[in-house]
Subunit: 110 residues, 2 copies
């Protein structure tokens, strides 16, 4: 992973609304959640949420798919794991450190 990607990913998470979205999606699993349903959880106007979803998607942390009139968003577990691994890379020169977490959802591909 390049540092630019990591900075991009971190910046996309460094906002209360976006972090909330991401955590909701992490907890929702591979099915994802439609934008409108995310909107119900979060007290922001639709255009603001849309802006933030775009930020997360640009950073690669979430992925969207259209389904009829709904746009489903899901977390990219691959991107998340890559980021966590990058942060802990060569921790303490490898001494006495367990490796980075790996979240492997059972269902569809992450």
């Amino acid at each position: 992973m390049e540092i630019y990607e990591a900075v991009h990913a971190l910046a996309s998470l460094a906002h209360e609304t976006r972090l909330s979205v991401f955590r909701l999606l992490v907890q929702a699993g591979p099915e994802g959640i439609p934008a409108g349903q995310l909107n119900e959880h979060l007290q922001v106007p639709a255009p603001t949420l849309s802006f933030h979803l775009k930020e997360l998607a640009n950073a690669g942390l979430i992925v969207s798919r259209q389904e009829g009139r709904f746009v489903y968003y899901r977390a990219s577990f691959d991107a998340m794991n890559a980021l966590l691994a990058y942060l802990t890379e060569n921790c303490c020169q490898g001494e006495a450190c367990t490796s980075a977490s790996i979240c492997k959802p059972k269902g569809k591909k992450s």
Copy 2:
């Protein structure tokens, strides 16, 4: 962990210079590195680096200690692990997910 702390921590990492500093410190282990030595690794003026170190320290991700004329900085592994855990909390409703990484340096307390 509160969302405000997490956002603060993520924001402090979401910058090329700061992320580089953090990774250097993660790899350096519990001893830490003096500010001047960090400065040699990174192409930024001292005041700029100082500004960024303060940001990381404010967010709790790094800790400083004075030693003579030098100020040593080290990564807070506790803070890092708390952040990683927060990001992966209840991943996929707990199904088929391994837990968050834990970096436990052998030496001094993290």
